[in-house]
């Protein structure tokens, strides 16, 4: 039987792209194989570990449970999109390093993209709320406390900065 393909157009990390995708491919397959965005990890591949998490139209999705064919017309962001023009780390990435929220690093890109969704909401959250918002990820190294601290610290910093500029909190 011949392979079925679909032409998709989407925006990946700010860049408009067009691809023929195999309809059997997951979005993880597409991002890793076609775009070499290897921050998108293949972990459990059944939507439990969150290592493949990416942002689609502003919301986090496990890309392992998302057909590449569905990416047509969508705006997709991965960890690679957080880097500055010279490869500088974003504040949340730096916070993960500073708080030792990383050991092996496999879960980190997924966690950071969820953190980005949390931070971009511009809201302040309690520790309990943050724990719930981060609960779609498994980390087998850090015990989560450092990850929570990194996200909380960045949240506080950003809220403070926006207050300083008279921005809405």
């Amino acid at each position: 039987m011949s392979t079925q393909y679909k032409r998709i157009r989407c925006v990946v990390n700010g860049k408009s792209v067009e691809r023929m995708v195999d309809v059997r491919a997951s979005l993880t397959d597409l991002l890793r194989n076609d775009f070499r965005l290897t921050s998108v990890k293949k972990g459990c591949e059944v939507g439990e570990c969150g290592a493949c998490n990416v942002i689609i139209d502003g919301e986090c999705f496990n890309s392992c449970l998302y057909l590449a064919a569905w990416a047509d017309g969508k705006e997709i962001r991965t960890l690679e999109g957080l880097l500055g023009p010279g490869g500088e780390l974003s504040d949340i990435q730096q916070a993960f390093i500073d708080e030792a929220a990383i050991q092996c690093g496999f879960c980190t890109p997924g966690f950071i993209m969820t953190a980005v969704e949390i931070l971009e909401s511009g809201r302040a959250y309690t520790d309990e709320e943050l724990r719930k918002l981060l609960s779609g990820h498994l980390c087998r190294c850090t015990g989560y406390e450092n990850i929570l601290r990194a996200v909380k610290k960045t949240m506080m910093k950003r809220l403070e900065a926006s207050r300083g500029q008279g921005g809405a909190v």
């Binding site: 039987m1 309809v23 999705f61 449970l65 918002l133 990820h137």
Partner: protein, 294 residues
Amino acid sequence: MYDIKALYEAQSVADAVRLRLEHPQAQIIAGGTDVLVQMREGKRAGAELISIYGLDELRGVSLDGEENIRIGSLTSFSHITKDPVIQRYINVLGEAVDQVGGPQIRNAGTIGGNTCNGVTSADSASTLFAWDAVIELTGSQGVRRLPIQDFYLSAGKVDLRPDELQTAILIPRDSYESCFGHYIKYAMRNAMDIATTGCSVNVVLSGDRRTIRRARIAYGVAGPIPMRCPSAEAAAKGKPLTDGTVEAFAAAVLEDIRPRDSWRASKAFREHIAVELARRCLREACELAGGAME
């Protein structure tokens, strides 16, 4: 790569109905959080899929002409939780679906998929049963509406005809008016877990808030499909807000539920927590309705 034989992407509801008739062996895929997992497990190896994920017309919550709440079947769990209509009239549904899986799953999973799976543990199902939800199905002959209790046939089987897809879930006005409810999911973990048992209770109190005018209760995982407890509802109807009423209500659920032993929990344990959940949910629902226990 998934083991997909062919993918048919519906462009409209009518197109989906046509695809259903054209490919009777194909499986409908909505948010994919169950179907794609099953494909990974090899359960649906080589399946043909009809994707309805692109049908934005099936997304969102609104009030229809008769002020019934209309939830498009493709509305994601997280969008239900955040929706102002849900928060105002049936907040318990938003709270219930906020306990499905984890955050990313709640952005992808849909309420239509949750109910069409026909599983007893679906976090939305007990609340939808307890609020007499109506399922809207669209097929080649037009639209059919049926109570959710008739939609669930047996474990994993729902009344979805070969040419149909579920297009909306409705909460009738007389069901949600002056009604307050509470849901408790009992599971081993707070995230990424399936309910050992889930209980949803809602009440309408009398004008002076001293009497229960109507109480409704439904369970997930207390039988092969979600179920209501008529004995418990009768035990609370017209009764004062007292400890005695709560106890009678909670004890009566054992006349209705039929939990089983499974690797997740024993029958005896499920019965024990079912009674406790009924007690706690009724108290909380009465409190939300502004009633004070005597």
